[in-house]
Structure formats: C-alpha cells, structure tokens
Symmetry: C2
Subunit: 703 residues, 2 copies
C-alpha cells in the first residue's frame, strides 16, 4: 500500500488524487469473527480506510501491565492484519483521550483514581464535572509516554512505510472539548505555571508583551513582574478586562498546541512515521487550533466533526439549511488553514435512538458536506458491538444505530453510505474540484474565538452567519471564503468581497482590506467600520482609506431602511453615517429621516467600497433583493441562478467538468429552475427540478 | 346568528357542538374591494369566523380625535357588515395592545411620546427596550377608557345579541409578553404601588402573609411594615431568596389579572355583551394566567398561540415531535383550566419569508393540534394587505406569506387550510371527542411558572417534558393530564398516574397524591420524593404515606441503572434510596453497587407506588422498555399499539366513534403498524401505514 498524501486541496495515493472514504470500526467492539465480512461490506460501499480508537483503558488495565492480543477484543495486530488483507487503510487513534462513550473518556480508571493532582481545575481550584485531565501536567505526560511506549512500537510495525495499513495517526481526540464542555478552560496551576517563576503563563505573557510596563498599560494594572499575573475569567466591563480574558484564552489554546506538539514528538520518537491528523469536535472549535497548526512542523491535517443531531438538546432533528451553512463555513475554514476539508466524524448514527438518524436525513447530510467541499470523511461509526467488560460508560452494547448493527445486520443507513460512495466513484474528478464562486466572504477568526472572551466580536461572527451569509445563499450567490489573516487574496480583485465588521478589527486585517481596495478590489462592508484594533486600541486605517470620519450612531429599530432601491428592509441595529467620504453615492437612507445608512465610494487605485450600516438576521425577500442590488453595483455576476430562494446550490468545478448540487434541506418538497454560467458566460438551464423532502440532487454539467 | 357558547370541552351554537374555525382578517389591511371574495374563499375552506384587531393607533391618530369609516382602512362597520353578509362570525380584538407588527404594538404614538410616566420600568427604574406600558398605570387606564368609550359603542351595535356578527371579544393581546420579552417583569412603582401606603404590592403581601412577622420569618428579614418590602429579582441562594422572587412573580401575574379584569369591566360598561377571550403568547405562558382565570367572573376562554417557527431563532424549521409534545401539553393545560382548547394563533404564515412556512409543514402542524385536542382555532393570518400609512413597524406590505396573498392570489397554503377544514367537516363529532387515555400525567403548574423564580422546579417541569412524557409517547402510551391543584382526579383510579417531582411540592398536592393512593390509585413517581412544600418549608406528607424515610443521594453519572428488567438505562441524576418502606419490592438497582434505585410498594387502601430514582432525557430504547415495564406493573394496558417508536398516535373517541391520528413529524418517510383496543378490549389492527415526510394520517375507527 502506498502512503496517503495530501495537498491543500485533496488527498492522493501514489500521485493519484483520491477521496478518503473512511469508516470507524472498533476492533475492541466488533466481534472478531465478523471482521472480514463487515470490512467487505464497507469496501462494497466505497470505503478505502478504517479508523479505530486504541483505548488506553483496555490495554493497560493496571498501571504498568499492558495487554495486547490475549483476547479477541484486545487483538490490535489481528485487526491491522485483517484490514491490510482486506485492502483497507487504517487511521490509528491511540489517544490518550478517546471519548467514544468509554469510561473516563478512554483513560484508565487507575490514572484518574490514583493521581488526582493531574485533573483539570477551575480557576477556584475545583476539579471538573468529568474526569478531565490537565493536558500538560508532567505526571500525565509521563503516564502517556509509558502508554505510547507500549502501543506505538506495535503500530509502527504496521504503518504503510513498513508494509502495513496504517496511513494516518490521530493524536488525542476533540482537543479542548473535555475541558470546555465540563468545566471551562483548564486552570491547573501546576501544569500551566500560574504564579511560577518561568512558568508557562508568565512566559506566554512575556513573549506577548515584552516588558511588564506594556502589560500594565494594557491591563490598567501595576504588576511588578509577569509572574504576579493570574489568568482572568471573562469580564467585559473595560477594555482591560477584555484584554486579560483574551490573553487567558489565547494562552489556553497555545498550551493546547504545546500538548499536541508533545504528543506528536512522542509518537515520532516511538516509531510512528505517518502523517498526523486531529479532529475539532465541531465547526465552532476549528479556529481554536490556529496555534496547533502553527506549532506542528509535521505533515498534519486538521479535520472537523459534523454532526447534525446527537440527542434532543440539538437544535434540529435533521440536517437543515442552518446545518448546511455551518458545514460550508467549516469546510472553508479547513481549506483556508491549508488542509483538504475532512469530516473526521460524519454522522453514521448516534448514541441516542431518539431523535432518529434516518437514512434519508443522513444521505442529505453526506451530500451537503460533499457540496461544500468535503474531500474526505470518516463515518462515525460504520459498525459497533459489545463493549469490553467494564469499560462502557453507560451501556454494554455499543450499537449507535450504525449502518451495520452491533449484531451484524445490514440496515437502511448502509444504502445511504453506499449512495455517497457511488457519487464519489461516479465523479472521481470531484476530489480536485473547487467551488465556483462569484463573490467572497472575509473570515475573521478573532471574531469566532471571541465566543470565549468578548461578546460583541462573537456577535459579529454570528451576524455574519445568520445575516449576510444566509442572505447570500438565499440570493443565489456563491460565496467562497478568504482569511483576513492571510495575504493570498489581496491582489485578486475578480469578485466582490463581503466583510462583516465589528467595532474592533486587527490592524493588519484593516491594512489588507485597504491594499485590496488600492489594488482595485470591490468591497461591501457592514454593519460598521472598525475604529479599534484587535486589542481595542484606536485604529482607523480602513476608515481613513475610505475618506470617512466615522461617527456611527447605533440608532436601532426606529429606522426604516431603504437601500439599493429596496424599501422596508428589516434589521436589528442600524448605523447612521454622520460624515461621508467626499466622493460618494448615497444608496441607503432611513425612509423617515433621510439619514444616510449606506453609501458607495471609490478609493485610490480604483477600488470600490459600499458601506452598509445595517445588521440583520436573514428573514425577508427584501434582504435578498438588497444584497443582489449591492453586489450587482460591485460587478457581481452569479455563477448559478436558482428560481427558489429556499433551494441552495453549490457548483464544483474541475476544468470543463462541473457537478451542480441542488439542496432541499426542508421537510417539504420544493421545486426550482436552476441555471449555471458556462465558460463563455452564457447561462445554461438545467431545467426544473422537483425535489422531495430532504433531497440533495447532483447534476453533471459542462463548463 | 346565534351566540357562540362553550362548555369545558367544546364550542356550541344554538346547542349544537361546533368547531370554531376562525381566520385573522384585518379590515385595515385587506383592500375593501376584495373583502367579499376573500371571505368567500375563507368560507369555502371551512371557516365560520373572522378575527380582527381594531388598532387604537389608526382610529385615534391624535389624542381625542377619533376616526372611523372616513377611509376604507378605517371602515370597521363596513367590515362587520360584510362579514355578517358573508355569514361569518367575528372575534373583535380592540386591544389596547395588538402587536401585529404595528408601531408601538398598536398603541398610538402620541401615547408613548407624550406620557413617558406610563412606561413599564425595570427594577432600576429604566424603561424597557420597547414602548411597553405599565398595564395598571392610572393614566394609561384613563387613556384606554377613552379609546374603549369611542370604539366599544360601535362594536356593541354589531354583537350577536344585537343581530351582528361579533360573537367573541378579545381583551388586549398576549398579556405579559410585551414586558417579559423586552425587559422582564414590570416594576413601574407608581402603577404597582411599591413603597406606597396601601399600594398594590404591600396589599398583596398583606393578603398573603397576614402579619409582617410571618413575612419576616419567610424572608429572614426584619421589616416593620409591608410597605417597606420591595420586589426582589430572581436569586436562589437561600429559601428566603426564592420566596421573595416567587412572591414578586405571583404579584406580577396577580396584577396582570387585575388589568384583565379592569379591561373586561370597561368593555361591559361600554356595551360589549359577548364572552371574552384572550390568548397566551405561547404554551409556556399558559400557567401565567391562573390568576386571570380566577379573577374573571365573566364567560371567558383562554386560548394559546401555537407557532412552530417565526424566524431562524426558533429551534426547528418545521413541526417536530418536540412541537407535538408542546401542543399536547398546551391543549391539556387549557382543558384542565376548564376551556375548550383553542389555538388563537395557529400558523398561517410568518412575518419572516425564511425559513419558509410550507403548506406540507403547516398541514402537519394543524392536524397535530387537532390530534391533541384543539377544539377551535384562529389562523394567523388568513390574508393581509398594505399597512395604513405610517403604522407598519418595519414594512408597508403585510403579506405574512398567508394563504391568500396581500394582492389576493390564492397560494398552496390555502389548500392546507382547506384540508384541515375538510377533516373537521368529515368528522363533525370530533368536537365532542376526548383523548382515549391509558395512563395519566400529573401537572404541577408551580413548576412551570418557576421558570421565572426557581430553577430546580422549572428543571423538573422540563424533565417531565423531555424525559417521561417523551418516553411515554415513544413507548406508545396515551397519557392524559391531571391538574395537581384540582381534586377531580383523586378518586379515579382506573389508570396509573405518572408524577415527576422536585424536592419541593405543595402540601395540598402531596395530600391529594396520598388520598389518590389511599383510594387504591397506582402511581409512578420520579426522580425523587418531595421533602419540602411550595414555600420550601419541610413537608413529607407523601413520603410518610409511603412509609419511606427519604434520604436521597444524588449520585449522578457513576451509576449504571437496571430497572424493571431493563439494563443499562441511560440517565442524568440518580437518586439512591437509603431507607425503604417496610413492604417493598426492589425493582431497580445500580448495576455496580446494588444500591436501590427503584422500588414498588403498597399503601393503605390498596394503592401502589413505584419510586424511580432516575432523571433522564429520552434518548434510548431502554427508556421505552423501562417505562413500559413499570407501567405494566401498575396495570397499564395500551389503548393504541404502534410498532414504530418514532410514530406517535392519538386516538380521539366520542361514543363508538374514534379517529386515530398517526403522526410522522420527521423529514423522512416512516412506516408503522398501528392497532387500537376496542370496547371489548380486543386489539384491532388498522394495518401498516407508510407515511411520507411530515404527514399526519387520520383513520376512522369503531370502538
């Protein structure tokens, strides 16, 4: 077997682009007697790879006593050999954490019971609601090292380079989740060095601020040394509060990156020669891995887990347009991070029997992910079985409603997974395809992370999702995302750029937007212009470039907005422009007062900017009409035209080949006429499509 | 036209039971030239009544200047005459509040602008985020009186008793919403008498406590007089905190009832001789009207508004089983309050175009309401049109995506409303039918109201919904509800009673449960036994009756539960019984420790009680199996047997006639074999039903 390689856009084997079609298959649960048959079923559905946890708690039942191969459910090598015989790659996931509804998240009970000092702690020093460990605790790392020293040599004999099936190795699982879900950030002082001379926290602050005077200025404080500074929980009363909380969160993700790096180095040390992977627990956590991505100097792919329902606390029972929007953002984020978008847990059932994961819903989910750029996935789980004695968190039987039942029966969900495999097989060029975009959306990951420390910025991220992005989809626009932390889009002025800005935006980001305009770029920015940088210090680089002296008044609901020829635009906050650039077209006003809500100006270098002082949650046809009108002013030409605003589309293109995805993620039938623009710019109709409830249709087109 | 009367179970006209099929139709929006045609369309769909707001702000544009009939959109009398000509009843809704996406919720702008003293206030004295008035402010009531004095004499000429079409009159709209959504409880001191000798608040406290010493004991305080006591926002640190916050909330709903009573008296004074109605804004607010129901000595029906989506902030895009559960509880609550369950705003579109209200979803919603006991409804809205000049909150055109568009076009939603009308017409006896129950669920409205003042009790209400009630539906049980504040169920021991208890339960309720057991009743109680009364004073009436000395340990997640022969029951909190009744069967244990989690005992009088120490959110087949096993121990015999736990059913019976509703509220097709028990106790199969996504099927059966 050749190694699995990857580029920023796709996986490849022996130089051939390939889709990574993986399924979770636990040797410690699936009865050994049925391994071969279930693997054959998986291959028949299009699979080329299996993933398995290798639970620490079953292989080191007592400290220092390791067991492999003595019983079927510990027969790791037998499993690896059987997978190789079946012609399937393996993703090895040796932890230390697994979760997987195992006791202690897969850590040995003795570790938790005998070493309470390594537990994660709240700021007050209390342990969390779950046995969550502090990742960087030296004793924990020592125990992990012993576990890796035992398991890695086995795995190392089965890597692809050694003629085995292991192509990828995952370190840990859903990093940060075990803390954030059960207690918040980890404040274990021993591990993180709070108050310790040369501890991690004072070192982090020293690296960030250089000398204590700068920190004191930022914190409005009077520390004598970095070692005196304690982490601060979220508080938003003053800019100093926000800076402290932001530093605390950044330190936490920085420390998480150090943990990831430590694990990777151990794995290498013990002979693992494959690339590494890791899975963010959900799309919202993707940006928590920026430091991890920067820290790892190894071949690495970050993927994300894309569930739509795991129990009745989830917002919806089935995939929805809101889910699609989330998938779109997640795949775009992973792509912008430099990875082939990979869904490392694609729903293959649920630990809950209710609400049900139906095959129809699951297939719609799968194709939605494919539509928005998924280049590889791992179905969680493909098949299960009984938990080994004493390790299941709440159940003896781990069935998960999977495609192949715990007792081996083939369920309707299998056909849904095969249908996904069939689409991938039918359009093998899809792995090299890119989304055909006609406009761009700027992502500011600072806003996404601010969920943990600064509400106004996170609300701007939510506004971006619920407002302009949703409106763009309903308006038939095909946005692709750009990363405001990167320069790679600044000279590309082919399509208009949508920017959703908070009062604060990093100086470098503001400068990039300025350069984009000076290069002739066209930008629609809303609902305000930034006046502060990322540390909440004054910064009006972008406003200055536009010639605007922004005095923004949030005048709220008493406004009736008419923008771009569309009247009665419903909105939340409204920002009135007090001072306008010298050369400007007023294109939006308060219908009552005439106050200016939107204007269109030209910058040096021929750039164009529309400032739109409205914040809205998408809900009205007026929103789509307004966005279309504004984008059209900026030269927008839709790549796909769809007659039904409820039907979203995604056109993926590789050379002259295109696959048009038409998504009905509602519980009702829908109808839409859909056209696309070919290479000559002509609109080609694909006809009228009648889509049943929860149906994603794929239509092959030629550009 | 004969008056519309009502019994606790149905509406009637001239002694004939009838379904109230109403549609919202605003004379101030629908073009007058199209009134007749749209009314005819409404009748053709089965309608027999129209409802309309009569907006204060359009009829009193300047203070003291009233206008009626001068322009088409103020032609109230023309509308009433046209409705009468069309043979349609009218529900008149003269406010003062309307909401309806009108400026100031339908109040005149001059009222808000010229009289800031009548605005609702936060505890700190700040006005709310919206122009919310303080209901009992004397100046507000004076202005309302002037408005009623102008409008009511017109309406009074058109009541049924006077030969006109007005059969019902609604006072105000969605009481409490204008406060709770935009600022919380109203603390306008002038209106509510805080700190005023003989003010409303000190009078309320005096009536509740009698003398100040009792209040001081409850509050752990040392007031000299009731007038010194200020209202208290929610705090839950001590029982005294909870008592203060509970009194504050109870006072608020008590004051709301006084407002309702005042409005009704004014309406009567100005000649309105119809029964009154009012709509709770949503099911969760139904129990906020207990004081209003008690205060009104007039014919009165409380209904509720049952939307499933109004914009993307709603939890789901379409009706779901979670929505069905909510509808079930709401209809049961209204029935227990003594009213024919009426959905005064049944979704007839939405002010948001997205997510869409599809005809398929709407019909499933309508039939779900019918399945759970709806005996009348008002579609909001049947048809709209342009807002009068200057009164629309955010839009000139009020279309709402209604069945008949603002410009008069007939939309697919019309067919869904006609389909509902057809079912009602086809089974006219349905209005007298009752739900065929096989078990009962005890409702403690104290828990529902506690959302505003005491988290543990509200969490018990949520637990009831998400846990046992949902499990009951998935298990194929047919619960009907009883009111723990009423005696009417205490001697009926035919079917088992499910009780979900918090640590606190009112003494009278505990005594009723005791009497029920002593009458031979059978009870399943979970997850704990109450040890406190409603004021958090010690009270173990129920536990004493069971012979249990409850020492409950919440031992949480480390338990694995085996109950009623079902192992691995997933749960949240677990309560271990330390001391058991003398004569008891242990029927549930911690699988690891053997600690007792459930027991079954017999009481004096032959009652039986199962105490089940588990709190769970329904998610697993084990939950349904456990509940079936426990109910079966208490003599449960299902009235309906359904092979698919995802398909919920409701059998409504009138004499020998029955209508079986089979609900698929998922986005995927479902299949189920459904049987029902006839009068002889035999199970009769209705066959296997293949239900498309979002389909509610009705099957006529004979008992």
């Amino acid at each position: 077997m050749h190694p699995i390689e990857f580029t920023p856009t796709h996986y490849a084997i022996n130089g051939q682009p390939v889709y990574l079609n993986s399924g979770e298959f636990h040797y410690f649960r699936v009865p050994k007697s049925d391994w071969r048959r279930r693997m054959a079923l998986f291959k028949a559905a299009g699979g080329n790879c299996l993933a398995t946890y290798i639970p620490w708690l079953i292989h080191e039942p007592e400290e220092g006593t390791f067991a492999f191969g003595d019983v079927d459910w510990r027969d790791l090598e037998g499993f690896l050999q059987t997978a190789a015989d079946a012609g399937l790659y393996v993703v090895a996931r040796p932890g230390p954490y697994q979760y997987s509804e195992l006791l202690y998240g897969g850590l040995p009970g003795w570790l938790i019971q005998n070493y309470p000092q390594l537990l994660a702690r709240t700021l007050a020093g209390e342990p969390f609601g779950m046995p969550s460990v502090s990742y960087l605790h030296p004793l924990f790392l020592e125990k992990v090292r012993a576990w890796f020293a035992a398991v890695c040599p086995i795995l190392a004999r089965y890597t692809v380079a050694q003629g085995g099936p292991i192509a990828l190795t995952q370190f840990d699982n859903e990093l940060t989740g075990i803390h954030i879900w059960f207690g918040g950030l980890d404040y274990n002082a021993e591990a993180l060095g709070f108050g310790q001379a040369d501890g991690r926290y004072p070192r982090f602050l020293r690296a960030r601020y250089g000398d204590i005077a700068r920190l004191n200025a930022a914190y409005d404080a009077a520390y004598g040394d970095f070692v005196e500074v304690m982490p601060a929980p979220r508080a938003e009363d003053t800019p100093a509060d926000v800076r402290r909380a932001r530093d605390t969160f950044d330190f936490y993700t920085h420390a998480t990156a150090e943990y990831a790096q430590t694990l990777c180095r151990m794995l290498r040390e013990f002979g693992i020669d494959t690339p590494f992977i890791h899975n963010a627990a959900n799309p919202e956590m993707n940006p928590y891995f920026l430091e991890t991505i920067a820290a790892l100097d190894e071949p690495f792919v970050l993927g994300s887990d894309h569930y739509y329902n795991l129990d009745q606390h989830w917002p919806q029972n089935n995939p929805t347009p809101q889910y699609a929007r989330r998938v779109f953002l997640s795949c775009e984020e992973l792509r912008l991070f430099g990875f082939p978008p990979t869904v490392l847990e694609l729903p293959g059932g649920s630990a809950s029997d209710w609400p049900p994961i139906t095959p129809e819903d699951a297939l719609a989910c799968y194709l939605t992910n494919l539509a928005y750029g998924m280049k590889g996935h791992n179905v969680y789980i493909f098949t299960g079985g009984p938990n080994p004695p004493g390790v299941g968190e709440s159940t003896d039987m781990y069935d998960y409603g999977a495609a192949i039942g715990a007792d081996g029966d083939v369920r309707p969900l299998y056909a849904a997974q095969k249908a996904l495999g069939d689409v991938i097989a039918q359009y093998p060029w899809l792995v090299e395809a890119e989304r055909a975009g006609d406009c761009r959306l700027a992502l500011d990951f600072e806003y996404a992370r601010a969920e943990r420390y600064y509400r106004p910025n996170y609300q701007t991220w939510e506004l971006m999702e619920r407002g302009p992005l949703t409106t763009a989809f309903c308006a038939g626009a095909s946005p692709v995302c750009v990363n405001l932390d990167s320069d790679d889009w600044v000279t590309d002025v082919a399509t208009p750029l949508i920017v959703v800005s908070a009062e604060s935006m990093g100086r470098a980001k503001q400068e990039r937007l300025m350069r984009f305009l000076q290069n002739g770029g066209k930008m629609l920015i809303m609902p305000t212009l930034p006046t502060l940088d990322e540390t909440l210090e004054p910064c009006t680089v972008l406003a200055d470039c536009l010639g605007a002296t922004p005095v923004w008044l949030n005048v709220g609901r008493v406004v009736r907005a008419a923008v771009g020829g569309v009247v009665n635009v419903r909105h939340g906050a409204a920002y009135v422009s007090d001072t306008l650039p010298l050369e400007t077209d007023v294109i939006g006003v308060n219908e009552y007062s005439g106050d200016v809500l939107a204007w269109h100006t030209t910058t040096d270098g021929g750039g164009q900017a529309i400032m739109l002082g409205l914040a809205w949650v998408h809900s009205k046809h007026e929103h789509t009409a307004m966005l279309r009108a504004l984008l059209t002013r900026l030269g927008w030409e839709p790549r796909v035209v769809c007659s039904n605003p409820n039907i979203w589309t995604s056109l993926r293109v590789a050379g002259e080949r295109g696959l048009l995805f038409i998504l009905n993620l509602y519980s009702s039938p829908m109808e839409a006429e859909v056209s696309y623009r070919d290479a000559t710019g002509a609109l080609i109709s694909t006809g009228t499509h009648r889509l049943g409830a929860m149906t994603v249709k794929v239509v092959e087109v030629h550009l």
